[in-house]
């Protein structure tokens, strides 16, 4: 069993996981189910990253999406009342219209995507940790700083929004 044989198998499994979990997020009636399926989908995407050889990004993916964003969303779910709803209240009224618009684009783009080919010399790429670190901290140092300011602003904004007025 060489890696070339294993890779498509993993790829197929991960694809099934991503697509079915994604569809589950949209279709699930209960919001907690949606949230967990979303986390599962994120994990599968992380698997894809590992398959692509980007372990660092995969680790960040799990750390941020599963460890932080999903938990945040679960918090949101728990602070708002959720009840399973009748179909008419569950989907918006524009669903048929949305289907007409989205499906053609989706099919077109997905088919178009297959036209991308690997660069022949790209196969020998090693670990992504060092090039990633070099890029982030050297070439993109300034955007990195800006991103940190953005995070700070978001943090303050979120606190201000959620803070109750003290009377």
């Amino acid at each position: 069993m060489t890696y070339d044989v294993v890779e498509p198998i993993f790829f197929a499994l991960l694809t099934i996981g991503i697509v079915s979990a994604g569809a589950g997020v949209v279709l699930a009636n209960r919001i907690t189910t949606s949230a967990l399926l979303m986390a599962f989908s994120f994990l599968n995407v992380a698997g894809m990253f590992v398959l692509l050889g980007a372990e660092t990004v995969a680790a960040f993916q799990v750390l941020i999406y599963v460890g932080a964003i999903t938990v945040l969303i679960l918090y949101g779910v728990m602070f708002t009342p959720q009840q399973p709803r009748a179909y008419g209240l569950f989907f918006q009224k524009q669903t048929p219209l949305a289907a007409i618009v989205v499906v053609p684009i989706a099919i077109f783009v997905a088919l178009f995507a297959f036209s991308f080919r690997d660069a022949p010399e790209a196969g020998a790429k090693g670990h992504d940790l060092e090039p990633l670190a070099t890029s982030v901290f050297r070439d993109f140092g300034f955007p990195f700083e800006v991103a940190s300011v953005l995070l700070l602003a978001a943090m303050i904004g979120a606190i201000v929004l959620v803070k109750r007025d003290e009377e």
Binding site: Q92, Q94, L97, A98, V101, V102, P104, I105, F108, V109
Partner: protein
């Protein structure tokens, strides 16, 4: 040491940040100590830099970083350290330090203590940037910075209306001057394609542009200088600025900021020298301002206002010196004036402090015994102002007046001598009314007390400077240390200074000394012996006296003529705006309302609908892109 010259402004900046951010809640009165220490450290470094410049490093440019780099437009944050700027650094830091120490006592009971020191530190920072800058833009940063601090500090007691109004007036008048500076700066960049002093002055010498362009630049810059240095026609903010705390008046409106204009012109000497009539204008404006302000000072009763008009007058002297081609004398007078005028202000502050905030000299009198230190130090400073040898003022003023004569401007020389008489008169009058005679208000007199040591020590230090400075660096006249030191950086190219013969110098010195003595004697005659009685003189000269008391009605003139004209203009503009501009806008508005009414239906308020629109737009884009790729649109 010279590479660390940036520390000199950095320390006051740090003091500003610390006092401003932490002062209100935590540091309180420690801010005074912190700020004074920082400025003191700056002064020490400035002395080091000065010594190094003295040791032969006559021109160093310390570049911190590139501030602006757009195409050809390159501006560095860089310090130019040469004899001129090192002298200015020294004067600014030393005088600031003494005034900071003094302020610790003077402001001790003010609830805005930390605010005062934060802004004073910021001011020192901006002033140091101004004198260290190696290009016009960075100088402008300092220029605006000191203007801002001046505004903040004049309006320091903003709870009262007068300081607030005075601050606004100072700010607006400075802005008018800054407009001239900005025009000059932009023209410099357009003409020379650079804002660096070095580049600009080099190009002025190598391939000068037309005379008229140079004159325009010089006049515009000088207009900026008149705003900052309170010359005609933009002088009237300075007397009003006395509404600020006295240390502010001493530091900003006597010793440092108002000399920025002098510094600018001195720094731009090559430019002005090449600009033909510009120097003449500088000299005439200076001379007229000198005599003009001195006449007003004759009749003022507010002790600080006398000093303020005196400052305007002395600044006029400096411009006079610049105008007659003696920049060294101007800077020399700037330095000595910084000491004795700061001393006069601090002394008046001490008096005001002693009599509980009273500024009217008519209510003082006989304070000599109550305030011995203040009295003696102010007497020295007054002597310096009246140009009595061997005090500092004598050497520098004599050099200015002498230069006017030897360089061939006898009328300006005559004005200078006459102004010297007036100067001696009003300073004698002010000191007499304050310290001698019978106490006129016994209540104030009984409660007067000498200021604490933290205030009198700076007075004494400044007095030492007042006594020795002129002699130390001005001897022998026309060839003293200050000449040898400063000439390389302000020398007018291609024009050697007229060196007068010793005999001429002595005669000129005796004439100006006689002028000072004459003024003093007249004043003493009027106020000690009452012969002629000042009141009688005032009555006899009725209309002229009233003109002087009302400061030539300049404020009213500005108010009525300029402001009314502006109002009328604005009225027309307002009508145009209401009827034509707004009319068009309103008609367009109706169109928008009608169109919006139709489009309102699209705005459902349902987020999903908006998102769907976005995706539909994506679809349209894709179709368009597909068509483009397939070549539908090319055929």
């Amino acid at each position: 040491m010279i590479q660390n010259v940036w520390l000199i402004p950095a320390l006051p900046l740090a003091a500003f940040l610390i006092s401003g951010l932490l002062g209100r809640r935590w540091l309180h009165h420690w801010t005074g100590v912190i700020a004074s220490t920082a400025v003191g450290a700056s002064a020490v470094i400035a002395i080091g830099v000065f010594l190094e410049v003295l040791g032969g490093k006559t021109r160093t440019i310390v570049s911190l970083y590139e501030w602006i780099g757009v195409g050809d437009f390159r501006v560095n944050v860089a310090a130019l350290v040469d004899p001129l700027s090192s002298v200015m650094l020294l004067v600014v830091t030393v005088v600031s330090f003494l005034i900071f120490v003094y302020s610790n006592g003077y402001m001790a009971h003010d609830h805005g203590f930390y605010r005062f020191f934060a802004w004073m530190s910021l001011f020192v920072f901006a002033m140091l940037i101004l004198v260290m800058a190696d290009n016009f833009l960075l100088l402008f940063v300092g220029w605006e910075g000191v203007g801002l601090c001046s505004y903040l500090l004049i309006g320091f007691w903003f709870e009262r209306p007068a300081p607030y109004v005075a601050a606004k007036k100072a700010f607006v008048m400075n802005r008018i001057g800054d407009w001239g500076y900005t025009i000059g700066m932009i023209t410099i960049f357009l003409v020379f394609n650079s804002l660096n002093f070095t580049d600009v002055f080099a190009r002025v010498e190598e391939n000068p542009p037309t005379q008229s362009v140079l004159t325009l630049i010089a006049i515009a810059l000088f207009f900026g200088a008149t705003g900052k240095s309170a010359q005609l026609p933009l002088y009237s903010w300075l007397p009003d600025a006395m509404e600020g705390p006295t240390p502010v008046s001493a530091l900003i409106h006597a010793a440092t900021m108002v000399t920025a204009g002098v510094y600018l012109v001195a720094r731009s000497t090559p430019l002005f020298a090449a600009a033909g009539p510009a120097l003449g204008i500088v000299g005439i404006v200076g001379a007229v301002t000198a005599i003009f302000a001195a006449t007003i000072a004759l009749v003022q009763f507010d002790i600080k206002r006398v000093m303020a008009y005196s400052t305007v007058s002395q600044l006029g002297y400096m411009f006079l010196a610049l105008g007659v081609g003696a920049p060294v004398a101007a800077i020399f007078h700037l330095a000595t004036h910084a000491f004795f005028k700061a001393l006069l202000f601090l002394g008046s502050g001490s008096v005001i402090h002693a009599v509980g905030g009273e500024q009217d000299m008519r209510k003082m009198g006989g304070l000599r015994r109550k305030l011995p230190v203040t009295y003696w130090t102010m007497l020295l400073a007054g002597g310096a102002l009246a140009a009595l040898p061997p005090l500092a003022g004598f050497w520098s003023k004599d050099e200015i007046v002498g230069a006017a004569f030897t360089n061939g401007y006898p009328i300006l020389w005559a004005i200078g001598i006459f102004t010297a008489v007036l100067t001696a008169f009003y300073v004698t009058r002010a000191l007499w009314m304050t310290f001698h005679g019978e106490p006129r208000d016994h209540h104030l007199h009984d409660h007067a007390h000498e200021s604490p040591g933290v205030m009198t020590l700076p007075l004494m230090a400044l007095a030492v400077g007042t006594v020795v400075l002129g002699f130390a660096i001005g001897w022998p006249p026309e060839a003293g240390f200050i000449h040898r030191f400063l000439t390389p950086s302000v020398e007018i190219p291609g024009e050697s200074e007229h060196v007068a013969e010793v005999g001429t110098i002595v005669v000129l010195a005796i004439v100006s000394l006689a002028a000072g003595v004459l003024g003093i004697l007249v004043a003493l005659a009027m106020y000690v012996r009452r012969r002629p009685d000042p009141v009688a003189v005032a009555r006899a000269a009725g209309p002229y006296y009233r003109i002087l008391v009302n400061k030539y009605y300049i404020d009213e003139l500005y108010d009525h003529r300029f402001v009314d004209a502006m109002r009328a203009l604005f009225g027309i503009a307002w009508a145009f705006d209401i009827h034509i501009v707004d009319g068009i806008a309103n008609r367009l508005g109706w169109l928008a309302v009608l169109g919006g009414g139709g489009l309102r239906r699209v705005q459902t308020g349902i987020v999903g609908n908006y998102a769907l629109t976005i995706v539909a737009g994506l679809l349209v884009l894709l179709v368009a892109y597909g068509g483009y790729a397939a070549g539908v649109f090319t055929r």
